[in-house]
Amino acid sequence: MFLAFLPLLGSMAAPAWSLSVSEKAALQAAMQVHIDEQTVDGVYLYLDRKDGEIRFVHPVKAHSMILTMGRYYVLCADFRDDKGKDVNIDFYMARKGRSYVIVHVAVADRAFLDGLMSAGKVRQAD
């Protein structure tokens, strides 16, 4: 009798709003397209606001977790510089037609994202 409620109990644990696998794959693909577009000679370039210099990092791993911020989404990827230092880059994305586009890139600013999560503005998508 309890076994019949197993899927129901699983679904009850999930948030009311969720993303389908296709939407998640589309978001991951859009992030991948953006990273490829920004990659020059195999490295990802970005502006270091502290030093006012263009820096580059190597892509390492895309996070499978997708965060939502209202109608927008946040995806994360790990990068590493030549010194072997890990650099986290958060991609803030929005839907555009049948695809998605990057609206903001936060390089090595995980504290900002943590603040949004603590404030309840950002949560994990189901």
């Binding site: 699983g10 696998v21 998640k24 794959a25 490829d36 895309a62 037609g97």
Partner: protein, 499 residues
């Protein structure tokens, strides 16, 4: 025991299932969501890289190159199909080749815009069948884990209950049954540190105390039996001695009574035999004293005749007293009871003793009862007793002294006659002697007062014959107070006083 285990399982199992199944379900759901995210990430990355490869190599004019760039997508097991179309819808490349994505089937789909050629799109379809397979597999695995855990929990509960609770309880039950059926107490001997162990320990302690108590009781019982035997023997000896002593006492009593009777008879006979010649002596002495047949010839014979008469009368008084005592002590004397008015009785006594008081210079007083009271007594003996007591008072009270005869009713209904004087008195330790036969403690005084020493003893016997008692309170130089107390039954009831 089984009922206890069943109840225990009835409580344990719903709790276990209620906690285990939702937990397993939550973990499986969490794992499925992670798998979905991993699948989406994997497909998304491949699709993104494919789209960028197509754009980077401008594969519009080179369909074979486009076909080659799409071909790696087919390696992924979730991949179903892919189409790369130009902005006008022309199919530039497809996987499977020349076939692309056919309609039908439940699949997931993503569409990516490729920059070159302009407005071209890459459509990729993939299946989440692997997720469903994993889901079913994990579901089955989860159910198996729950079932296994459930059975393990039941088995563990059964075994644990049997060893932790069941075995000590069984031993306890066996010990109690053995004790109730055979009366022999068996300790359990297994003492854990838990609550059951405390119970078995308490049971063993209770058995130990019961054994000690029983041992003590047996010892006490044995001691009591031994004491009983000893007591029985002692009783037998005592009874034997009492019997022997009783026999001896009976013999002694018989001998004493015989001796006393012989003595009384001897005294009575002797006294009676003495009275006859003594009366003759007194009579002849009086005749000589009164010169009935002429002068005696010499004046000194007059004195001798008076001495003979006085000594004879004294001796006669002694003999009379001795006779009375002998009669009373031999039990041959009986009371001649009659109803006597107390006032009249006291008046008679006072009139007899008044001349003696006058000649001795002693004041005589009396204190009567306010109302008429009558007694059932031997008038002669009681009157003689009171006169004797008053006479004693006169004898031992110096000139100018005072004697008193008083009567009073007691609270218990009896009556008291009190003869008191202001005479020489006596010491407290001499009072018992004074109450005995020939008990005048001071013989010189007795001789001086011409007393026999038998008066108080005879008074006591007279009172005791009436069921009363006589007591004396006295001190040297402070007079004497003799109280004669008669019981209530000697007093005629008030209703009969006027009759």
């Amino acid at each position: 025991m089984r009922g206890l285990l069943a109840r225990f399982l009835l409580i344990l199992m719903p709790v276990f299932l209620g906690l285990a199944i939702p937990s397993i379900g939550y973990l499986i759901d969490l794992q499925i969501r992670m798998d979905r995210e991993v699948l989406a990430t994997r497909i998304g990355n491949q699709a993104g890289r494919a789209a960028m490869a197509l754009a980077r190599h401008d594969s519009h004019g080179n369909q074979l190159l486009a076909q080659d760039l799409l071909a790696p997508l087919a390696v992924d097991r979730a991949f179903v199909c892919a189409e790369f179309r130009a902005g006008d819808g022309t199919l530039l490349a497809a996987v499977p080749p020349a076939q692309g994505c056919l309609d039908g089937g439940t699949v997931e789909e993503i569409v990516l815009v490729v920059r070159r050629p302009a407005d071209s799109t890459l459509r990729i379809r993939f299946s989440d069948a692997e997720l469903r397979e994993f889901q079913q597999l994990k579901m089955s695995l989860g159910l198996s884990v729950v079932a296994f855990a459930f059975l393990s929990a039941v088995l563990a509960a059964f075994v644990g209950f049997r060893f932790i609770v069941g075995r000590p309880l069984h031993l306890l039950q066996t010990a109690i049954r053995h004790s109730t059926t055979t009366g022999e107490r068996l300790p359990i001997g297994i003492h854990g540190k838990d609550e059951i162990g405390a119970i078995t320990r308490a049971f063993d302690e209770m058995i130990r105390r019961e054994d000690e108590r029983e041992t003590t009781l047996r010892y006490t019982n044995a001691m009591l039996q031994a004491s009983e035997v000893l007591l029985t023997r002692n009783n037998e000896r005592l009874e034997q001695r009492v019997h022997e002593r009783t026999v001896e006492l009976v013999h002694e009593k018989l001998r004493a009574e015989a001796a006393n009777e012989a003595k009384s008879r001897f005294v009575w006979i002797t006294s009676h035999e003495l009275r006859t010649p003594l009366n003759a002596i007194i009579g002849f002495a009086e005749m000589m004293e009164h010169r009935m047949f002429g002068p005696l010839g010499h004046r000194r014979y007059d004195g001798y005749a008076r001495d003979i008469r006085m000594s004879g009368r004294h001796l006669l008084a002694i003999i009379d007293s001795v006779l009375d005592i002998a009669k009373i002590e031999s039990g041959n004397e009986t009371l001649h009871e009659e109803v006597v008015d107390v006032g009249e009785l006291m008046g008679d006594c006072l009139s007899v003793i008044q001349p003696l008081c006058d000649s001795s210079g002693v004041t005589l007083d009396s204190l009567q009862i306010g109302t008429p009271v009558r007694l059932t007594i031997d008038r002669t003996r009681i009157k003689q007793m009171l006169i004797n007591l008053l006479g004693n008072g006169v004898k031992f009270t110096p000139k100018g002294g005072r004697i008193e005869l008083a009567a009073a009713l007691c609270p218990d209904g009896g009556i008291e006659f009190v003869v008191s004087d202001t005479g020489i008195g006596m010491r407290e330790e001499d009072i018992p002697t004074a109450l005995s036969t020939f008990g005048q403690f001071d013989n010189s005084l007795s001789r001086r007062q011409n007393g026999t020493g038998l008066g108080l003893h005879l008074a006591r016997l007279t009172v005791e014959m009436h069921g009363g008692n006589l007591s004396i309170v006295s001190a040297p130089g402070r007079g004497c107070r003799v109280t004669v107390r008669l019981q209530k039954d000697r007093v005629v009831p008030a209703a009969d006083q006027t009759a």
